[in-house]
Symmetry: C2
Subunit: 229 residues, 2 copies
């Protein structure tokens, strides 16, 4: 107990809502708590902010420690600070959300976690603390974001088909999109580059592969647009 202050201080943590996309679903990465409180419950990866690191650094550090993920796209979501959100003492948490593609990033459970696993976004189990509320906010934010910024880069493999991209948008928005209108729209946005390459090993007509034009994608990210879907 070496650190003394005139007034009591809330503890400060970060938590990460990590979204990933596989062939079927939009998923959320959870860890199983190895300690009290809520031992054995699923929760968001996260932990205490060190006094010399930035909030984002703390989020990246905890994410790597607990799940092995690194170099992910990360953005601050919201800060949750209700006095009773942690039964032990006052804890304020700065929530981040991350987008990763499940092919390139592999997950392993580590410190403080018995296990790490992906859950389809609509069937997340009961979570520790107020983490369910945090996941809901993150899903809502992602839904907003997708309408005015491209997000595919972070969730898809480097080369992908238009159908994969459409499925991503459908999962995030939670509703079906018209194939032709989607293609028209997304191609007019001008950050997609059609490759001379086709899908392999599929038991039906092979789809053309695309990749993002990094430069134009970045512009679209900073300037924003209206996807109108």
């Amino acid at each position: 107990m070496k650190f003394k202050y005139r007034y009591p201080r809330p503890a400060l943590t970060v938590d990460c809502v990590v979204f990933g996309l596989d062939d079927k679903d939009l998923k959320v990465l959870l860890i199983q708590r190895a300690r009290k409180p809520f031992r054995g419950r699923w929760a968001l990866p996260g932990g205490f902010v060190h006094v010399e690191e930035s909030l984002e650094d703390a989020a990246r550090r905890e994410l790597e420690e607990e799940t092995g993920l690194r170099n992910v796209y990360l953005e601050q979501l919201y800060t949750f600070g209700e006095p009773d959100r942690d039964p032990r003492e006052r804890v304020v948490t700065v929530a981040y959300y991350a987008l990763v593609n499940l092919r390139d990033h592999h997950v392993r459970a580590a410190t403080d976690a018995r296990e790490a696993a992906w859950f389809a976004a609509p069937d997340v189990p009961a979570l520790a603390f107020d983490h369910e509320k945090i996941v809901e906010s993150a899903a809502a934010r992602l839904k907003e974001k997708v309408r005015c910024q491209p997000i595919g880069f972070e969730l898809l493999p480097p080369k992908f088909t238009l159908t994969q991209l459409q499925r991503l948008y459908e999962k995030v928005l939670g509703r079906p999109l018209d194939k032709r209108n989607f293609r028209k729209k997304i191609q007019s946005m001008d950050f997609l580059e059609a490759l001379d390459e086709m899908q392999k090993d599929v038991s039906h007509r092979a789809a053309r592969l695309y990749r993002f034009d990094k430069r134009k994608y970045g512009q679209a990210t900073t300037k924003g647009f209206n996807l109108g879907i």
Copy 2:
């Protein structure tokens, strides 16, 4: 020094970017610091979070203590936590922004502040800490918000003219809008109620007064819309 912890903890503060509208400009409320560091400099109203109060409660308490404002519309903006943002020690601040109408809310300087004053949003002086950055984020957020949620309720007097409302949008967006298109659009949104009352004491044709339909305004706030301007 009664409060002791195993690990060092960042201090946690809240800061408020308060926007107000007068006849001319969109303004930001600043206080002049009475203490070190940055004594004499202008800064955002704000202060330490007490250990038993929520973040929003802390923001409201500080706002009232330092400026006398209460019952304002308040929303969380972003949490700023770079390790060097305060020269004394590590301080993480949860920033909020508020919208108030200058007719109904009067400001007085109080504790910790020599003075409180309104500055036109484009000519905010050099501020303490990273508060300039916080003001910029808040202005950017307000600009986004205005496109998909009504904000007039909070910034205008209860009865107002369409020209006042248009001026508000022009100030927030930083560009002129077409009068006829604006009126068409805003009236089709259906949360305005035309009154049988006219402006008084103006030296030109009196404009019709409007007020917000609280119910529909609330729906528009929660559901969102696309103002398309």
